[in-house]
Amino acid sequence: MNTCKEVVYIVEDDSSFRTSMERLIRVSGYEAVAFESGNPLLAKEPIHHPGCLLLDVQLPDIDGLQLQQKLIEKGIKLPVIFMTGHGTIPMSVRAMKDGAIDFLPKPFENKDLLSAVAKAIQRDVQDVQEEVEKDRITALIDTLTPREKEILRWVITGMLNKQIAYDLGITERTVKAHRAQIMQKTGVSSVAELVRFAEKAGITPEQVH
């Protein structure tokens, strides 16, 4: 499966329905990878991106909603589209709350399927981009010294060098020097940019009382 094509994973226990899904996905220009139950998918590493998951709600080994939950727990971020033979409203509400892209009652029309898949793949592309950006930022932040990381948390509160120096009991010049280092290492040019940057890496501002 060494391909740059988008991959649509399919988990469906009914074999003839599964085969038909594989065909339809393939002729629609995607790579199709199908499983007849949930656990083999959970065991599958790595998951190809960009991609998405077409998941049957009723599976023999694990219920589709539980599988969705397990994927989240495993840190596998893959947009999910549910397929169901008798979906109930509360069930679909729960699935959507947990981040499902769509809920397709079987049988569905080709165009509904393809628009859901396109939406899911687009979401995955975004997710992957965000992930890459987050990794890049985290790597940059890792080049900071512990002291610089500490100062970073003060800087993103929006406080002036003078105030930070006073609170930390150091000179304003030292703060200024650290700040310059942070800006240089992370490659940002303004505090506003630095705030967005820190936010993406999950760094919270210092709690100032």
Partner: protein, 397 residues
């Protein structure tokens, strides 16, 4: 009274003066016995009347005839006809009595509508016993018991039973159609997908493929039409909206056990209830939850049909502050490991002639209540089916 006087007069005639003292004692004893008997009959809640035969005139009545609106003394000399709503009722009853006597019965118990002095009718159980002299019934003692209350209870029980039976049919229909819809939608979906895939492939051919395209479009359209028919049919039997209220699970359990009490007795099943007295109320639909309990109890009882010892145990408890659990345990064979996963699936059954929807219905009812149902085998044999329900949360919803 007059009879007593006669007896006394006879005594006086026959006995010399020397025996008077002795007789005085005997008389005293007789009076005491009579008072005691009167007290005894007057303390009964049921009306008791003594009737002479064959004229069926009342010779004596206890205080409790007031339940019919009469004073004991006004009854004396009256025909028992007055207790019956119509002449026909009276004759029919008299006929029954005559037949019973003819067959040599000493006691006859029958139910009939009787009429109070006010004209009001009530359901009564009438017990007759005969006094015979040389094989001929000369008088009868009649006990009249008002059974309005117990009949009401019985009819309420019947009503509950009917309601449950009806629901069972409705649920079975709805579950059947849901399952069928699921089973049919699966191949219909595959047909549609395959036709769509074929349409897609064919569009890549250079040759004219208009007719192929038409064929495939028709296949898709017809598959859609078939699934639409199923959806409509499902809509028709869709279960009506259930009313949810605050319920005490223990009360539901007790009511269901009451329904099965006779069956248990007949099958020699011992039943023990271990109900936690302080469980929080749940929010649910009474009839549907009872349906679940009935299904579990009836399954348990069937599972024990061949067992030498039949013990059914129903338990209720608090699992955590907001979770109530009820379990039904039997002493049957337990559940085969290979079947454990399938047991809640539609059309899965181990019973001859079973439809395989009972537990599936239980599961959908419990899920509809936001709860969970599961099964475990008991260490000492048999199986335990349990379900958990959320405690009622005030009026928040």
């Amino acid at each position: 009274m007059s009879q007593e006087k006669d007896v006394r007069a006879e005594h006086h005639k026959r006995n010399p003066a020397t025996e008077i003292r002795e007789h005085g004692n005997a008389e005293q004893k007789l009076r005491e016995d009579r008072d005691y008997l009167r007290q005894l009959t007057n303390s009964l809640p049921d009306a008791v009347v003594s009737v002479t035969l064959p004229d069926r005139k009342i010779a004596w009545a206890n205080d409790a005839v007031k339940v019919l609106g009469y004073k004991p003394e006004e009854c004396i000399g009256m025909s028992t006809r007055v207790f019956f709503p119509t002449q026909e009722d009276y004759l029919a009853f008299a006929d029954k009595v005559t037949r019973a006597i003819g067959e040599g019965q000493d006691v006859l118990i029958a139910e009939s509508f009787l009429k109070k002095k006010s004209g009001e009718l009530f359901a009564a159980e009438v017990t007759l016993s005969y006094f015979k002299v040389n094989g001929t019934a000369v008088s009868e003692t009649v006990i009249l018991r008002d059974i309005t209350e117990s009949q009401k209870t019985a009819s309420e029980r019947n009503q509950l039973r009917n309601e449950l039976a009806h629901l069972s049919r409705v649920m079975t229909m709805s579950e059947l159609s849901a399952t069928l819809a699921h089973e049919i939608n699966q191949p219909l979906g595959a047909i549609q997908n395959n036709a769509a895939a074929a349409k897609n492939l064919i569009s890549m051919f250079k040759e004219d493929h208009a007719e192929f395209d038409e064929i495939l479009t028709d296949i898709v359209t017809d598959a859609m039409r078939a699934s639409q028919i199923i959806r409509t049919a499902r809509g028709i039997v869709r279960k009506e909206e259930a009313k949810f209220e605050q319920l005490n699970l223990n009360v539901l359990i007790e009511e269901v056990v009451e329904l099965y009490r006779n069956a248990f007795n007949m099958e020699n099943t011992s039943i023990s209830l271990d109900l936690h007295p302080d469980i929080a109320p749940v929010k649910g639909n009474r009839v549907r939850l009872q349906q679940v309990l009935m299904n579990l109890v009836s399954n348990a009882s069937e599972a024990m049909r061949e067992s030498p010892s039949k013990r059914l145990r129903i338990l209720s408890n608090t699992q955590s502050t907001d979770l109530i659990v009820a379990s039904v345990s039997d002493s049957g064979k337990g559940i085969d490991k290979t079947m454990k996963g399938k047991i809640f699936q539609s059309f899965f059954t181990t019973k001859k002639g079973g439809l395989g929807v009972g537990l599936r219905i239980c599961q959908s009812i419990i899920e509809e209540h936001g709860g969970r149902i599961w099964v475990e085998n008991n260490p000492a044999g048999g199986a335990t089916f349990s379900f958990s329900l959320k405690a009622y949360q005030g009026g928040s919803e």
